[in-house]
C-alpha cells in the first residue's frame, strides 16, 4: 500500500513547472553581480574621498593653528609641514566602530530585499496598504574571528505593517573589509516571534514565543530566553530557558 509520504513525494515531484522550460540566462546573473560590485566600489570610493578631504582639512587646520599670522595664500604657505607633523604617517587602520550602521545598505534583510537605512530606519513599500519598516537595533563589538580586530554584531528588525503585523529579527556580524567597508561575516540568523533582545559582544539574548504542534496558531504555548552566539561563521543556539509568559502564574 502506498504511504502518505510516498503519495506526497510523487505528487510534488510530478508537480510544478517543467524543468525543461526553466532555462536561465547566466549573462543576466553576471550583469547583476557586476552592477552590485560597481555600486559597492563607488560607495567605498566616496567614503575614501570623504576621508581624504577630512584628512586634508585637518592638516590645513593644524597648519593654520600653528602659524596664525600666515596669510592664507598659496605662495605664503610653508613648503614643508612643521617638523612636529610627520611627513609620512601611515593612515589609521579603519575600525568597525567607525561604521555608521544606521546609514548603510543591507541586502537580504527584509522580504529578501535590500534596505538602505537613513538615521537607523528604512521604509520599503509593499502594496498600497502595506510596507516594511527596517530599523537598526543594538550593536555590540568583539573579535568574532580571532584575528585581533573587533567585529560588530548588529541587530536589524524587519516589521511588516499591513492587515497583519509581524516582525523578524535578524542577527548579523560585520568585520572591517580590506577596502574600509563593513563586510558581512558568516551567515545571518533570522528569529521570529521575538519579544525583546539585547546584545553583548558576539552574543544576542532574545526572548521568543514558542508554538507547540497541534495548538492553534493564535497563541504561543511558551516563552523562552534564547542565547545565540556567533561562532565565527554562524549563530549557534547556546541555551534556551523557559520563562513565564505574562498573565500566567
Amino acid at each position: 500500500m502506498t504511504s502518505l509520504d510516498d503519495r506526497l513525494r510523487d505528487l510534488i515531484r510530478s508537480g510544478g513547472p517543467d524543468a525543461g522550460s526553466l532555462r536561465g540566462d547566466v549573462t543576466e546573473v553576471r550583469a547583476r553581480a557586476r552592477r552590485r560590485t560597481l555600486r559597492r566600489r563607488a560607495a567605498v570610493g566616496a567614503l575614501g574621498t570623504v576621508m581624504v578631504v577630512l584628512g586634508a582639512a585637518g592638516v590645513v587646520w593644524a597648519g593654520a593653528s600653528s602659524a596664525p599670522n600666515v596669510v592664507s595664500d598659496d605662495t605664503t604657505l610653508p613648503q614643508s609641514p612643521p617638523s612636529t607633523v610627520p611627513t609620512t604617517t601611515a593612515p589609521p587602520r579603519p575600525s568597525i566602530r567607525d561604521v555608521d550602521f544606521g546609514d548603510m545598505t543591507y541586502d537580504l534583510v527584509c522580504d529578501g530585499r535590500a534596505a538602505t537605512l537613513t538615521d537607523g530606519i528604512a521604509r520599503l513599500p509593499d502594496t498600497a496598504e502595506s510596507h516594511f519598516d527596517v530599523t537598526l537595533g543594538a550593536v555590540s563589538y568583539a573579535d568574532a574571528e580571532g584575528d585581533g580586530d573587533e567585529d560588530a554584531l548588529v541587530l536589524l528588525q524587519c516589521t511588516f505593517i499591513g492587515a497583519e503585523t509581524d516582525s523578524t529579527l535578524q542577527l548579523r556580524v560585520y568585520g572591517m573589509g580590506s577596502g574600509g567597508e563593513a563586510s558581512l561575516i558568516g551567515s545571518p540568523q533570522d528569529l521570529e516571534n521575538y519579544q525583546n533582545s539585547s546584545v553583548e559582544g558576539m552574543t544576542a539574548t532574545v526572548v521568543v514565543d514558542q508554538y507547540a504542534g497541534g495548538v492553534p496558531d493564535c497563541c504561543p504555548t511558551s516563552r523562552a530566553r534564547e542565547v545565540w552566539r556567533f561562532d565565527g561563521s554562524a549563530f549557534v543556539l547556546e541555551s534556551s530557558t523557559q520563562i513565564p509568559q505574562p498573565g500566567t502564574s
Binding site: 500500500m1 502506498t2 504511504s3 502518505l4 509520504d5 503519495r7 506526497l8 513525494r9 505528487l11 510534488i12 515531484r13 510530478s14 508537480g15 510544478g16 513547472p17 524543468a19 525543461g20 526553466l22 532555462r23 536561465g24 547566466v26 543576466e28 546573473v29 553576471r30 547583476r32 553581480a33 552590485r36 560590485t37 537580504l108 527584509c110 522580504d111 529578501g112 509593499d126 502594496t127 511588516f160 523578524t168 540568523q189 533570522d190 521570529e192 508554538y211 507547540a212 504542534g213 543556539l237
Partner: protein, 169 residues
C-alpha cells in the same frame, strides 16, 4: 585573444545544470514561475559574488538552494494576490479527472492554503529529500520548529488532496 577563465566556465556550467532545479524548488514556496526565476537569479548572483569560496564547496547547489528557499519564504510581494489568481484560474479551467494536469492544479491549490514555511518544509522533504535537521538549517529555524512546519503541512496537504484515512496516518 583572451583565454576564458576556468572559474568562469565552472560557474556557467554550474548555473546551466542547477538553475532549473533551484527555480522548481523556489516555485513550490512562491507558486509563481516568474517570481521563482527571479529568486533563483538572485541566489545565483550571490553565489557568483562569492564564487571563489562557494565554487570549492562539495555541493554549491545546496548553498544556492538554501539562499533561494530563504528568499522565497521571505518574499511577500504576491502573497495576497495568490489566492484570487489561482481561484480565477481554476474557475475557468476545464480538465479531465484523474490526470497529471488535475493533480497539479489540486496540488497548487492545496499548497496555496499553507504558510510559506510549511510549503518550504514540504518541498525540502519531498522534493529535495532532506531530513528534519537539514531542512531546519535551510529554513533557518530550530529542528523542533521545522518538525511542526512539516507535520502541519503534511496533514493539511493530505486533507486538501483527499488522501484516504487509511494511508493518511
Amino acid at each position: 585573444m583572451r583565454r576564458a577563465n576556468p572559474a568562469t566556465l565552472d560557474f556557467d556550467r554550474f548555473f546551466a545544470e542547477e538553475f532549473p532545479a533551484i527555480v522548481r524548488a523556489a516555485w513550490f514556496v512562491v507558486l509563481d514561475t516568474e517570481v521563482a526565476k527571479e529568486i533563483a537569479q538572485e541566489a545565483f548572483c550571490r553565489a557568483l559574488q562569492r564564487w571563489d569560496r562557494i565554487g570549492h564547496y562539495d555541493r554549491p547547489g545546496a548553498w544556492v538552494r538554501t539562499v533561494a528557499i530563504r528568499l522565497a519564504v521571505r518574499s511577500r510581494d504576491r502573497q495576497r494576490r495568490e489566492r484570487s489568481v489561482v481561484e480565477s484560474g481554476m474557475a475557468g479551467h476545464s480538465v479531465d479527472l484523474d490526470t497529471p494536469e488535475l493533480d497539479n492544479i489540486v496540488l497548487e491549490a492545496a499548497l496555496r492554503d499553507l504558510p510559506r514555511q510549511q510549503r518550504a518544509a514540504l518541498v525540502l522533504r519531498y522534493l529535495c529529500d532532506l531530513d528534519v535537521a537539514e531542512l531546519a538549517g535551510v529554513i533557518g529555524c530550530k529542528p523542533s520548529t521545522a518538525r511542526v512546519h512539516l507535520h502541519r503541512g503534511r496533514n493539511a496537504l493530505a486533507q486538501s488532496i483527499g488522501v484516504p484515512d487509511d494511508i493518511a496516518r
